[in-house]
């Protein structure tokens, strides 16, 4: 069991750094502390899974890293930039170029075709139409959906929609892909395919992949697993150490 709380980090290749992050939510009149001081570093190109029961603060931490929510105290650095200091425009820029999001519910825009979904982030980034289209087709090819580029979401299966989402997340060559329970709404084998796809991407493109998950299969491909419990990091495990504790889980 190892916990990295080394303060003197070599900051150069930390793509994500979470520093003493506290998050309070107001539930009616009572203040609930969801995150109780989280320190975390994620290196560029790593495949990291965040695990934890529901209500552990996993999703909240995940949203913080994605710049979707701001910490009550502490800071989140992406590429050594404190994202709580950014204004709305800079945050939008960050979401557009630096981070690719994959959701549990796919969130493919219903009124657009697969290709239009993939090119949308490129349009926001100011990529010319033709170039965006070309890159979009490349990405759809990469996820194995080249032939279905003109299909609308309702003509695609769940797994295919999630593939489109993966392609869309890659549109602007982000440094990080944030996947929130990417296999949560998929059956076992389709979920497996998505996991393999993400792994392939992290290896071939060197994208940092951070996923919040309940899926134990996700652990097999993760470089590190961060266990969150009750708003704190319970433990951080590297893959080598993982098989032992997995055995314990299986034995329970």
């Amino acid at each position: 069991m190892m916990v990295t709380k080394d303060v003197s980090m070599e900051s150069t290749n930390n793509i994500v750094r979470v520093s003493r992050v506290v998050k309070d939510f107001l539930m009616g009149k009572t203040k609930v502390q969801v995150l109780k001081g989280i320190d975390l570093e994620i290196k560029s190109g790593e495949y990291v899974s965040i695990m934890g029961p529901s209500g552990s603060g996993k999703t909240t931490l995940f949203n913080m890293i994605g710049g979707l929510d701001k910490p009550t105290a502490g800071s989140v650095f992406i590429d050594e930039i404190d994202i709580s200091q950014l204004d709305a425009y800079e945050l939008a820029w960050l979401r557009c170029r630096k981070i690719g999001y994959i959701f549990q519910t796919f969130n493919i825009i219903q009124v657009m075709t697969a290709l239009e979904n993939v090119t949308l982030p490129m349009i926001f980034a100011g990529v010319p139409d033709d170039a965006a289209r070309e890159k979009g087709m490349e990405l759809l090819d990469l996820v194995g959906l080249k032939k279905r580029f003109q299909h609308k979401p309702f003509e695609l299966s769940g797994g295919q929609q999630q593939r489109v989402a993966v392609a869309r997340a890659l549109a602007n060559d982000p440094a990080i892909i944030l996947a929130d329970e990417p296999t949560g709404n998929l059956d076992l084998s389709t979920g497996d395919e998505i996991i393999q796809l993400l792994k392939l991407l992290s290896q071939e493109k060197g994208v940092t992949i951070i996923s919040a998950t309940h899926d134990l299969k996700m652990l097999n491909v993760s470089d590190r697993v961060i266990w969150i419990s009750d708003g704190k990091i319970e433990k951080i495990e590297k893959r080598e150490e993982l098989s032992i504790s997995l055995g314990q889980i299986g034995g329970k």
Partner: protein, 225 residues
């Protein structure tokens, strides 16, 4: 693509060209045809009423101008007041009052359906924001959609209102009804109806669109289908 000045410094440049926003808006209207139809329907009705009342007032003043005894008698039987010599016939206060109410109800109806539409699209808006859309992209999309709905709905309403008024008068009074009606007046009233329709449509979508634009991506993501 834009050159990066510093390796990792965040920039502010996120764009959505106008043509692209129109394209997305049209797509959205097309694929939500039924909902658009309902939103537009209240507009069509209110605007056709407006156009009807306006055209009708031209027809009636035309009839008074014609000094056709039978037609004028028919009119006063129907309760229209004969205007004082030298004055033009305009709409009655009662008509204006009903017109005002109908336009008001129309706007409230639009606000209602647009609020529903926004709630329906929480997920979509949130996703767009996660992909880098700014508040004003969302706002612009809704405004363009509303303008297009306004143009289409008000054109249908304006033309049908005028047509109904003209046909009705033709049937009731015969050719004298349209003999003294100036075509330019009718065209102008249809155009004013279209303009009014667009304005109403935009007023109706303003609050829902602001609500959508201000939404945080995280809230939108929490929304259910």
């Amino acid at each position: 693509m834009l050159g990066k000045t510093k390796a990792n410094a965040p920039q502010k440049q996120v764009v959505l060209p106008f043509v692209k926003s129109v394209e997305i808006a049209v797509k959205s209207i097309k694929s939500r045809f039924f909902r658009t139809l309902i939103t537009t329907m209240s507009l069509i009705l209110a605007i056709s009423f407006y156009s009807y009342i306006k055209t009708n007032s031209y027809i009636i003043s035309g009839i008074f101008f014609s000094e056709d005894k039978i037609a004028i008698q028919k009119l006063s039987h129907q309760g229209y007041e004969i205007p004082v010599e030298g004055e033009k016939y305009t709409t009655t206060p009662k008509e204006r009052w009903i017109l005002f109410l109908s336009l008001l109800v129309c706007v409230v109806g639009i606000v209602n359906t647009q609020l529903m539409a926004v709630a329906d699209r929480f997920r979509e808006i949130g996703t767009m924001k996660c992909l880098g859309a700014l508040d004003r992209f969302v706002l612009r999309l809704f405004l363009i959609e509303a303008t297009l709905q306004g143009l289409i709905g008000a054109s249908i309403g304006g033309i049908s209102g005028a047509a109904i008024a003209l046909l009705g008068a033709l049937i009731k009074f015969g050719r004298v009804a349209i003999a003294f009606v100036n075509l330019n007046d009718i065209v102008a009233s249809i155009l004013s109806a279209v303009f009014l329709g667009c304005v109403l449509s935009i007023i109706g979508v303003l609050y829902p669109a602001l609500l959508a634009a201000k939404m945080q991506p995280i809230e939108a993501m929490r929304g259910r289908d």
